[in-house]
Amino acid sequence: MSAHERSPAQKTATPIWLLLVELRTPLVVLILVYAVSVLGLVLIPGEDDQGQVWRLSFLHAFYIVSYTGSTIGFGEIPYAFTDAQRMWMLFVLYASVIAWLYAIGSVLSVLSDPAFKQLRNHRRFVTRIHSLKVPFWIVCGYGSAGSELVRFLAEHGIRCVVIDGDQGRVDTARMSELPYEIDVLKGDAGEPQVLVDAGVKHPLCRGVLAMTDHDQINLTIATNARILASRVPVYSRSERDSTTRNLLSFDVEVVIDPYRIMAREMVQLITRPAAYALYQQLVDPEIRNVPEPPVVPNGHWILCSTGRFAETLVDAFRRADVAFRLISPEPLRTGGVAGMVRGLGTEATTLREAAIGTAAGVIAATPDDGDNLSIVLTAQAENPALFMVARRNRPTSEPVFTAGPFDIVLRLGRIIAQEMYARIRSPLLHQFLVQLESMPEPLVEGILGRLRAKQLPTDAHMTHFSVTLSPSMAPGACDWMSDHTLTLCELLVDPDGSPLPALCLLVVRFNGDIVPFPGEGFGLQMGDQCLIWGDSRAEVRLNWILGRRDVLADAQQRAMAIRTVSGTA
């Protein structure tokens, strides 16, 4: 017996056992009614067709009671009953039918008892989780962030187990239209037993994602998971610096603070639009097209926000040296801000006070969707050339934000989901994103230019994937590399000789060295891991090429021929 089978939840009775205990009285009643009926029929003398005394045997009596009790009623066999037998049959009829109704009614009442149903569902869930044969992630909290993440994961075939304490959300999760069925457990993720039931100790559990709206619950989930299964990585959401420090103090693998990420993205948008576009394309699995850097006008920015988000935004803008004016209903706790305007930003006067006429853009990021929409509409009336960024708080407001005149919509839940997903999908991607942070803008623009030069098909479906040049993953390429050199531009070639519509963003060497944006002539080595970014069709082609030495060699020759032809022409 392994450790997780000995958990207290497993010690509770099995549902069938509970059912039998509830059915004890109806069963005894049924047996006694049958016994008395059979005995009566055997004892009461009958007559055969010649008027002789004829006694029913136990077999016949049991047969008659059985078909009477089940209301089938074959009649009076083998001979017509006497009056005394008919009187007894009246008793048999009513008694047996009532006994059956009582028994069936008891079964139904037990089966429809909510507690019994919950026990049955829970046991079924636990059994299913413990028999899972594929790796899975535990997602705690099915709010806006949790549901987005589960969708991303399910669409890429990554299995997840969802825990949420709210029945409405549990139902939404169960009914959601996802390509993979997800397992949903109703319970408080902060309770250790719930985590165990969700499979935190399962050998195939890849990690626990604490995504609830409450920092304290996320913290509890993280500590519980760390103690219950120390090998399982924990990714947590955190909305306060104190929580972040607390989480990092016991080595939680990933801590995601959505406010800091939003602030960083805003600075990136203003100072390095190309990096912003590339970043968004890579982290959002639903942006499929080739990124176009947004055109951001010059001037100062108007921030309409309050609380923690205002503080992180102001902090980030100051560090990046971006000119801004803050509109906030109350002063920030972190200290005064020069030129702050008191108010919400929904009125034209406050916006004019913040010099909207000369501004580059507005970031409407109050915690109220109505206010954010109002700010953007008022600002647009004042200065139509503004760059509009609006924060969407409630998922139900999505239709207005999709249709509205916004250049960018900030969605808290989606940002958390993107960041978590980027780390779950491929560790290489996250390493690249770290490199992208400090990469000069011209270099990023150069990358986007190189991608355009590849002449991607118009219906390109951008995706990223990693390949490993190991004998098991790429036997053909490894064989070829044992007696040839292989550069990146030689690898990314279609079997017909034309270049594949893909770029290599990052190479991680076997010894751990990281090479961001390797050039075309970069020489590959055995054991290299490459992050490739391009049209989704390139993935299948490349994996095929990597497995076949003959195809690779063939493609090299054709590419060489094409290059010499274009060189001479």
Partner: protein, 126 residues
């Protein structure tokens, strides 16, 4: 005094006594073995089984198992009896012997039940 315990012990002991009454006599002589006594023994044994459901202690599990053994033996004996008397037309001494020996086996299971019941009772603190 607990009424439920009274019924519990009543049915367990009654199952044994009825079965003993049926079993007693020359093994192959149908006149020594009343079908009514057999019928009552079977019914009481079934009721005793149902009453034993729900006790999740170890001794409860063994009690239930002995009862299931007794039921199984008695039901097989009943099938043989019904077959020989109704289909073959008469209960031959050989058939009677096998019916009574099956009931004897069931009685051993009943004895085990009663022993378990007694041992549990003796262990009880007054």
């Amino acid at each position: 005094m607990n009424t439920q315990r009274v019924w519990f012990a009543f049915f367990i002991v009654l199952a044994l006594t009825l079965n003993f009454g049926f079993f007693w006599g020359e093994i192959d002589n149908p006149d020594h073995h009343s079908p009514f006594e057999f019928f009552l023994a079977l019914v009481v044994s079934l009721v005793a089984t149902v009453l034993k459901i729900g006790d999740r202690s170890h001794i409860g599990a063994v009690l239930l198992a002995t009862s299931l053994v007794a039921d199984l033996q008695l039901i097989i004996a009943a099938l043989i009896w019904a077959y020989s008397s109704q289909v073959l037309g008469e209960v031959s001494p050989a058939m009677m012997a096998s019916i009574v020996s099956l009931a004897g086996g069931a009685m051993l299971a009943n004895v085990t039940s009663v022993i378990l019941l007694l041992s549990e009772t003796i262990q009880l603190k007054r």
